[in-house]
Structures are given as C-alpha cells and as structure tokens.
C-alpha cells in the first residue's frame, strides 16, 4: 500500500519532520516502509515563470528568444520548442540547477545569444516521455512558485510492506497511519472532517428499502442517497491524490469512493440507484447457479457461500469483492446509492479466493474492519461530495439495516509481566501514556491495569494482554531492549542419533571418498518416473493437489532418479562424477513416525552416484563398494555384502547389486546402474549407485572397538591362488580358508582376481595372501607349512584347485 505524506499531513501536523524520519519511525514502530519515493525529486529549483516576450532567434529559424519573468527578475532564455508563446506560464529552470535527467544548466551562448537557463519540457523534468514541446502550466500558476508544489509533486510516497499490516485493519487507510504518527511524534491527530449532521434514518418514508437476509454475512448495511442533474469532473487535487498512491481517477462518484477508502480504510460502493430494479436492496446468499457480470466484464458463477447484494430482480454486486456491471454509475447517472457496509471477513475472503479476485475492497474487508467505520465513511463521503459538487442534493439521512456489535471487552495488563517479557524496566506510567497515545484508556495502577480498547477504529489484533505488551513495547521502541544472554541449566542437549549418522556418512563420502554433496528437490517429476520404467510408474507417490509448477506434482520415493539426472548433466563436461545427497523418501504406504493422521513415512537416506567415462563397469562397481567399505568402517559397523533379497528398485542392475547387511538387516546397497535405465537417462558412462538407510544404520550395533593383544612375534606369509567357479563367493572361499587355518591363521586378504583363457570356463582365479602367527613364539617354517597344507587340502576337497 502506498501512503502520501501530504495526505497524512492533512490529519496530523508533521511540520519539521523529514520524510525519511517518518519512514524510519514507522518502520521501527509500526510497519515496514519498503521505499520512499519523492515524485518532485530534482525539481526543487524549477519555478513557475511567465514568458513576457518572445521573438524569433535572429540567427536560427527554429529557435525563439524569450524574456521570462521568473519571480526574481526578467531573464533571457533561448528556447527550441515550437509551442512557446508570449504570455504562457512555463517551468523555468535557472542556471546552476541540475535537472532530474542529470543535466546541469550553465549560461551559454546559443547561436550567438546568451541563454540564462531553460524552459523545460516534461521529458527534461522526467514527468513524461513527451519531447514535442515545453510543459505549459495553467494561467493561474503563481510566478516564482516551485513547480513541484504547483503540480502537487512536493510529496513523498511511502511504500508499505502489506505483509506487515495484515493484522492491522486500522492501518488500511491514511487516517490510521496518521493516528500512529501522532502517537509516535507526540502530535495531535486532527478530527476527520465529516458531515456530522447526517444521521441514520428510522425505516420508513424517504429511506431506501434494505432487506438484510444474511445477517451473518452482512451484520450492517448502510446506504446514502444523492440526486443531481449533472456532476463535475473530479477536481485536480482529488485526481492527483489518487494518482499519487497508484490509483487511476475514473469519475467523481467512483473517485470519492476510492478516496474515502484510502483515507478511512472502509470500502464503499456507488450504485446507479435508477438501475436497481424494484428500487430496493436485498442482502442475501447467492442462489445456486446464480451468475453476475462484474465491473471487469467477467461473468462470475456464484455459490450459496457468497454474500450478494441484489435488487428486486437479481444480484447486482458480490459483497465486499466487486460490483456488478449493470448497476455501475456512469455519465447518465442521476441518482446515487452509496453502499457502506460490514461484511463477514471470512466469507469475503473465501469468495475472493474462489473467484481469484483480489480487489482493494477484499484486502480490507478480509482483515475485519471496525463496525463503526461504515457510518464514518458515509459521513465523510457526503461531506466531500457536498464540497466538490455543491449542486448535489444529498438526502439528509441515510438508510440502514443491521446492528452494531457490543463494544470490545476490557483487557488487563500486568506491568510486571510486560517488563518481564520486554526484558527491561519500562515504567508503568509510560505504559499508560503509550496506550493512551493510540486510544487505549488504561486505568488503575499497581499490579493490574484495566485497559479499554478504542472505539471507532478496530484493533482486532489487540485481544489479550500480550497484544498490549506489543503495543507498549513497539511504541516505547525496541531499541531500548538491552541484549542479554539467558542463564541456563547446563544440561547437555539431547542428541539425535540419525542426524549424527547422516553427518558421519556425508563427511566420509565427501572428505575421504571425493564425492560432491548436492541438494535436490523433494519432487518426483513425470519425466523421472517415465525414465525409471514401469515399476516406478506403478508405485504410489504422495501427490500434490495444487502445484503451480509442472515439475512438482508428486513427492519422490527415491533420491536416485534426481541424482541420475544430475549425473547425466555433469558428464557432459566432466570425465568423472561423484555426487552424494542426504534427503528423504516419501512413502505413503508406511506409517509416519510422527503424530498426525495420513502423514507418509519420511525415510531418511544418503544416496550417492558415481560414473567415469571409459571405466570398466565391474571395476567401477568394486570402487564404489570400496567407498561403502570406508563408509561403514567409519560408521563402526560390522557388515557383509550379499546378493539382494526381495524386489529391487528398477534402476538397479539385478546381477550387480550388493546388499550391505549388518546384524542380519539390510542397511544399504551398492549397485551398478541398470543398463536400460542408464539408456533412458542418457548416461553412457558406466555408473554405480550407493544407498544407505539411515534408520537401519542407526539401529545396527556399533560397539566401541576393544583392543586385541598384539603379538611380539613376526608373522609368516604364504600366497595362495585358487581356481573357483564364478558362483562360489569370495566370502565362501575365505570362510573355508579360515576354518582350515585355525587360530594361527591371523589374516586372509584377497589381492587379485583373474579371469582368462587358461582357466576353465565359468571359473575365475582368486589369489589370497595368508598371514600365520602365534601369540607366544615365532612359528617355524615346518609349522607354517603344515597348517598351509591343511588349508590347501580342505579347498581341494571342495573341488577348489590350487593354481600352478
């Protein structure tokens, strides 16, 4: 919302206060001022001048030589505009003045004649684009006056952050802000000029018939009648005021309605009374299927939730939202019916939201305006109408239906509690004085003050003691609050094990394994689901009902598809890519761990992908498995890898998936990317996936390491290469070796895997390094040979041949 400082100044004397100070004080005490715009900036020295003499420039056909009366003497000016003429009132910029376009004027010779200053066009003053000629002022413009003043540009426009006043229905007009400024600067708030003699008429003769059927939707409906033969156009000051705060002038009756709204906060609506069929107003719920063409020319379908204003035949306005086209005031209007009413805030809001109609009226009605405002607005409108159009016959009394609610309840304020919450010793007397400055009457002293909220301007936001604390706190100024640190019990904070595991996992993958941590959206896009394949398309996703973004319609069930997209993009200009993300999978079929009906399980995972152009797929998978080994070692988990059990996500290569198992439970997976899915995602380099389920990892036993005794005696090493069928796992062979080697076999380490022509089909060679050691002596060669022979024999018995 925009505020004109000049307009504010009409209600509170701000003499001697700079616009920036007004903005700063309002920001610090009332509402955020986002910007201060001075429309007359740069025109301070430009004054009204009169062209007392004009002749053609002796040396140039298109130039004029003028003498200008600038109020402080006659000056000679050369002017190039075709429209300059003797007797005109013009905008004169003297020598030394810097215009808004940045030009600083000096006395200079133009074709041999010295020109002292300049007669300005709109463009030169940044008042418009028009370069065709100079700006000509009305004849009554006083010579010597600053033109900003004459053009009404000597103002400052404050731009209010609307979000900071959503709770303040009293601040949706200039008068409300004037009240704040009066309190802030200790000035007097002037009474709003109104037609005080205007009264609400008793129903009967001369009143306009109003039938209030929906009293919940409209507790109060007032209407002012006026008649006229002709109406003047809106006076300049009125049009300029509206324009200054960003509203387009339309016609007198509409402009006055807008003016009263921008001043008091109360929207009103002018009807052409002669177009109201049956000469009456009915306020009711809309009928099912009822339609109304609104002022913007759109036919609106209404529901029984909507409050409408109807005449004897049909709906003529959507209450609090927008008027109808059929009863709009126009040049032919001779009788005015001005509506000023109270509408239920929630109903107005619901209707506006459903229709997508955010009007100035909606912005105000939905805040819950003061019940006394409709009457004030009608009196102000009548006063202004009489002032600008003396020929208008305003009916002495206005019509009305409905009642005012009882006054707001009395509140109490405990000064000690206020001091405790504010954090400093604000004196009780000052609290009372601050409250009084905004119309709250505080009585009593000591422990509990009684506070009577003001009448006439709703402070719906002030409904309890803490609201009063805010009022005194903000007006006293929050800069008075000293920063202090609370004294706390030194109990250590609770630790979240899942969060610790997540951090440890990321630290390891990033710092030790070279992954780049990324973040991605929580959404599964249609494209991802399609690329993932049919299995994913069948899975149930949490669906969003009202997304504005086409890529945000479902929540993801896995981090991997998003990572694959990142992978594909990054492979364009990187040879090797390693990415890791910690995030959540949203699984609607599982119950949430949190309280609340219908919440999906949010499974927390760490997922990583890595790819390298030109790599061998299996070698890369083993590298990724190596990453998992480092990761789980750092997490302190005893684990093993196994072939996966159960169904797999579609993006995993079923033959190249390793399930990471700790204590019998799967905690994660390392796998090659499914070649079909790789094709769908456009990933040509071999790629692997690593996933870790953080809850499962957290649940796995992670005992503290216990130190084992260290042998003082040197080990004996023997290498062993065996040829095994592919189906026999490394773990299996190792298990057999260990079983045969017994306690003297301290270490078994696989150091080579070989496949080649000299091996039987479907076989591979595994080479192990064995370390034999005794705790109490150095083993002799004979002893070591004897144990090693047992290992070889055991393997031979299983059909595992020693390689030559």
């Amino acid at each position: 919302m925009k505020l004109s400082l000049k307009w504010l100044g009409e209600h509170v004397d701000l003499a001697g206060v700079a616009p920036d100070d007004v903005a700063r004080e309002l920001t610090m005490k009332t509402a955020l001022i986002e910007d201060v715009v001075r429309p007359g900036a740069g025109l301070e020295q430009v004054r009204v001048g009169r062209v007392v003499h004009r002749e053609k420039h002796p040396n140039a056909d298109r130039l004029s030589f003028c003498k200008v009366d600038a109020g402080s003497g006659i000056v000679e000016v050369v002017c190039g505009a075709p429209n300059v003429a003797e007797g005109q009132k013009i905008c004169y910029a003297p020598v030394g003045c810097t215009l808004p376009n940045g030009l600083t004027l000096e006395a200079r010779k133009i074709r041999g004649i010295l020109s002292h200053g300049m007669i300005c066009s709109n463009a030169e003053m940044k008042l418009g684009e028009d370069h065709d000629g100079i700006r000509v002022l009305p004849d009554d413009a006083p010579v010597g006056r600053p033109i900003a003043e004459v053009l009404g540009l000597d103002d400052a426009i404050l731009d209010i952050d609307n979000k900071s006043i959503t709770h303040r229905p009293d601040l949706w007009g200039h008068y409300g802000f004037a009240r704040e400024l009066a309190a802030i600067f200790g000035r007097k708030l002037k009474a709003l000029p109104v037609d005080a003699g205007l009264k609400r008429a008793a129903p009967g003769a001369g009143t306009f018939p109003i039938a209030l059927e929906d009293t919940a939707g409209c507790p109060l409906y007032l209407a002012l009648q006026a008649e006229f033969e002709a109406l003047p156009a809106s006076p300049d000051w009125l049009a300029r005021r509206l324009e200054a705060v960003g509203m387009r002038p339309i016609s007198l009756l509409v402009d006055l309605s807008n003016y009263v709204m921008l001043e008091t906060g109360q929207p009103t609506h002018p009807f052409d009374a002669d177009r109201l069929e049956g000469g009456r107003i009915v306020v009711r719920r809309a009928k099912a299927g009822e339609k109304l063409a609104t002022l913007d020319g759109v036919a609106r379908a209404l529901t029984a939730e909507d409050v409408v204003i109807a005449d004897g035949a049909q709906a003529v306005a959507i209450a609090g939202v927008m008027g109808g086209a059929s009863t709009e005031v126009s040049a032919s209007t001779r009788r005015l019916l001005l509506e000023s009413a109270r509408f239920d805030a929630a109903r107005v809001r619901r209707t506006a939201t459903r229709l997508g109609l955010r009007t100035e009226a909606v912005a105000r009605f939905e805040k819950g305006l003061d019940p006394a405002l409709p009457e004030l607005a009608i009196r102000r409108y009548a006063q202004l109408l009489r002032q600008v159009a003396p020929g208008v016959r305003v009916r002495g009394n206005f019509s009305g239906a409905g009642e005012l609610p009882p006054p707001a309840a009395i509140l109490s304020l405990r000064p000690a509690r206020a001091r405790s919450k504010l954090g400093y010793d604000l004196p009780t007397d000052e609290m009372k004085q601050r409250l009084a400055s905004i119309g709250f009457e505080a009585s009593g002293s000591g422990e509990r003050l009684e506070v009577r909220p003001p009448a006439g301007f709703a402070r719906k936001d002030v409904a309890c003691e803490d609201d009063l604390i805010e009022e005194v706190g903000r007006l006293a100024g929050y800069e008075r609050v000293p920063a202090s640190l609370p004294r706390l019990q030194c109990a250590p904070p609770r630790l979240d094990p899942l969060r610790r595991v997540e951090r440890a996992a990321l630290r390891t993958l990033v710092h030790e394994c070279g992954y780049a941590e990324c973040m991605n959206y929580s959404f599964a896009t249609d494209r991802q689901i399609e690329r993932e394949g049919s299995a994913a398309a069948g899975a149930k996703h949490v669906r969003l009902l009202n997304s504005l973004t086409t890529n945000a319609t479902r929540l993801r069930r896995s981090l991997v598809p998003g990572l694959l997209e990142f992978l594909q993009k990054n492979l364009v200009d990187h040879e090797e890519v390693r990415l890791v993300e910690a995030g959540r999978e949203y699984l609607p079929e599982l119950p949430s761990e949190y309280e609340g009906a219908g919440l999906p399980r949010e499974r927390r995972v760490v997922a990583a992908v890595r790819a390298r152009r030109g790599a061998d797929g299996e070698a890369l998978l083993l590298e990724a498995r190596g990453d998992a080994e480092v990761l789980l070692a750092r997490l302190g988990i005893a684990w093993r890898g196994r072939r996966p059990e159960g169904a797999l996500p579609p993006f995993l290569h079923p033959g190249r998936t390793i399930e990471l198992v700790a204590d019998g439970q799967a905690v994660g997976r390392v796998a090659a990317l499914h070649p079909g899915v790789a094709r769908n995602f456009g990933i040509e380099a071999p790629a692997c996936i690593l996933e870790l389920d953080l809850a499962a990892v957290t649940a796995a036993p992670r005992p503290a390491a216990r130190m084992r005794p260290i042998s003082e005696f040197p080990p004996a090493r023997r290498d062993l290469a065996v040829e095994t069928p592919e189906e026999r796992t490394v773990a299996d062979v190792e298990k057999e070796i260990r079983a045969a080697g017994g306690e003297k076999l301290a270490e078994v380490e696989l150091f080579d895997v070989y496949r080649g022509a000299n091996l039987a089909a479907g076989h591979r060679s595994l080479a192990f390094r064995l370390e034999y050691r005794a705790a109490d002596r150095t083993l002799t060669d004979a002893e070591v040979d004897a144990i090693h022979q047992k290992v070889v024999e055991r393997l031979a018995n299983l059909g595992i041949r020693l390689r030559a």
Binding site: R474, P486, L498, M519, R578, G596
Partner: protein, 347 residues
C-alpha cells in the same frame, strides 16, 4: 721387545689413519669397512700383533696391551668421524643438488565438496548445540493443525495467503515453515526447553532468481520462566556474530506473525556499506535476517505449556539467503542445481 711391539702398533695405526683419510668417492663407506676389518677385526693387523704379547713380561704385556687398546679406541673414533664426514658430505651434496618447482601440483586425488548450504546448516547446528539447544527433526509433510491451527492461524486467516501452501492428498500440506516444530517439541519435551529445528520448507510459488518453491529454515525456540525479548536479542546477536564474524549491529522492529506476540523482525547492519545504504541492502543500510518474537500464549497452550508460568522466544532463520549472502550467489536456483561447476567452488 715391548718397545718394538708398541712401535708396530703405532705404525699400524698411522697406516690405518692414512687409509681412513684417503677413503673417498662413491665407495668410501665400503672402503672404510674394508680397512676397519683389516685392522680391527679378530684376525686384523692389531690383533695379529698382540699375539706377540705372550712372549713379553708382565710390564711389557701391560704397556703393549694398553697401547693397543688406546690405539683401537682412537682408530674407532677416526672411523666414526670419517663416516660422519662422508655422511655430512652426502647431505650437503643432496641439499646442493635437490630442488623442486613449488608450482608443480601433486598427483590429483579426488577432492570432495560440501554443499555450501549444508555447511551453513551444520555450522548452525553446532553453534546452537554448543549453547545447549537440542537439534530436532520433524515431518516435511505436515498436518494443517501443526502447520497452521496450533500456530494461531485458523482456517480463512489472511496469513494463510502469504503462505502459498502446497496441499497434498489427505488434507495435509507440505510445511510452509519449520514453526510447526515448536508445537511438536513442546508437546514432546515440555518446558523449560530450548531447541532448533532446521529443515526444508515449501511454498507454492513459481521460481526465479530470488524465489524458490523449496527452501530451508532454522526454527529456534526457547521456553523458560522469565524469557524476554532481551534474551532473544542476546542469543541472536551471538549467533550472527559467529556466523558473519566480528561485531554485528542489529535492530528489532515490529512485524506480524500470528504465532508470536510481540512479533518482530531482526535486521543487521549492512556490512558492505556500513549502514550508509548500498545495492546489497536495497539502500536501507539494514539487511532483514530473521522473523522472530515472543511465543504467543495460544501457541504455548497448544504445546501444552502454561503461558502464565512460562514465556518463550522463537525465531526463523532463512538459510538459503544466509548461504547466498556468504558466498555471493546471485541466483537461488544454483543451490539445487546439482551442477558440479557450482559445487566444486566450495570446500
């Protein structure tokens, strides 16, 4: 007789010394070892000579034996000294010869990168934990009750407009702020309480350089007897000083959030212009950093905390903005781009 033996010893020693001094070049150490063996070993020259001792009288044996031992010691010292000199020479030669180009990089090892926003989040977690705040997590798909109603935002409240909520099936929402965690935590842990709840929040907005439908907040809550705005200010100033480094000037001004009363906004003085006004602070001299305030009594009550006994402060830090400010990131969409060209610029 002993005299001639002593002289022989001296002769051997002199010869050996000359050889020790002469040992040089690449195989100097081997040469020394050879000389040492020839002179000092069991079968070496000195021991050979000493075989003649048995032919001497006691005094002669003593003199010659003593001379031999002394000679052995001197020679051992001479060998050690010569070896040290050779080793020193080798070190000096190495130092004279060995040079490296300090600009030549080491073999490339994969360097991981933390996401700049996650780094900020972890830093904040640690900072608050060091002040005794518990770090908690909550659901991102949230009920209307925890996201709105319990926070004093009933249905049709105008504040719901500003929220641009994503609705999901089953009357739930994607949380529009982390503030719902205030209620969940108060219900779970009771008062007194201090916690932070960092996490992802959602707004149904179209994206541009300054707007995201997904962003990150850190909710802070402290509830205790006598908690005041002064405490809020004190704690946030500490946090900002750590986060931004050095002295930080702040100001509190009124703002409206339905779940706090008084409702406040904390600004800190722009560090680029020092408060004079520049493009970073939109010429105001101040940068809006977090919404905050004293927990509304209705919200305390919704969290089953007695508002008569306890008061509390709450705040919400926007982490995306903090990250963007720290690293001069001009467009919020980089954060979720997954682009290595971006990610690799951070530690």
């Amino acid at each position: 007789m002993s005299q001639s033996l002593v002289e022989s010893i001296a002769r051997i020693e002199a010869k050996a010394r000359a050889a020790i001094a002469a040992a040089a070049g690449a195989d100097a150490l081997e040469e020394l070892q050879r000389i040492e063996r020839a002179v000092l070993d069991k079968g070496g020259e000195l021991n050979q000579i000493l075989r003649g001792l048995k032919d001497l009288d006691a005094a002669g044996r003593r003199d010659a034996g003593q001379a031999a031992n002394e000679s052995k010691e001197r020679l051992a010292a001479a060998f050690a000294e010569r070896r040290r000199a050779i080793a020193d020479g080798a070190v000096a030669a190495a130092l004279a010869a060995e040079r490296i180009d300090p600009t030549q990089p080491g073999p490339r090892r994969p360097l991981g990168h933390e996401h700049p926003m996650k780094s900020v989040m972890r830093e904040l977690d640690d900072l608050f934990e060091s002040m005794g705040f518990t770090v908690v997590d909550g659901p991102e798909v949230e009920t209307d009750f925890f996201n709105f109603e319990a926070l004093n935002i009933p249905p049709n409240h105008p504040a719901r407009d500003a929220q641009d909520t994503f609705y999901v099936e089953g009357d739930n929402v994607l949380r529009t702020h982390t503030s719902g965690m205030q209620i969940r935590a108060m219900r779970k842990y009771g008062a007194p309480l201090r916690l932070v709840a960092p996490g992802r929040v959602f707004r149904n907005e179209t994206q541009d350089a300054g707007h995201e439908h997904t962003f990150h907040q850190l909710e802070g809550l402290m509830v205790d007897e006598g908690t005041s705005i002064g405490h809020l200010k004190g704690v946030l100033e500490q946090v900002l000083a750590r986060l931004v480094g050095g002295e930080v000037r702040t100001r509190l001004r009124p703002h409206y959030f339905p779940f706090v009363e008084p409702g406040l906004e904390l600004d800190f003085q722009c560090r680029i212009c020092g408060g004079a006004g520049c493009s970073t602070c939109k010429r105001t001299g101040w940068i809006e950093i977090c919404g905050c305030g004293m927990v509304h009594p209705k919200v305390l009550a919704a969290g089953n905390v007695d508002p008569e006994k306890y008061s509390g402060f709450a705040f919400g830090l926007g982490i995306d903005r903090l990250t963007m400010m720290r690293h001069a990131i001009p467009d919020i969409r980089w954060l979720m781009s997954g682009d290595l060209r971006f990610l690799r610029q951070f530690r």
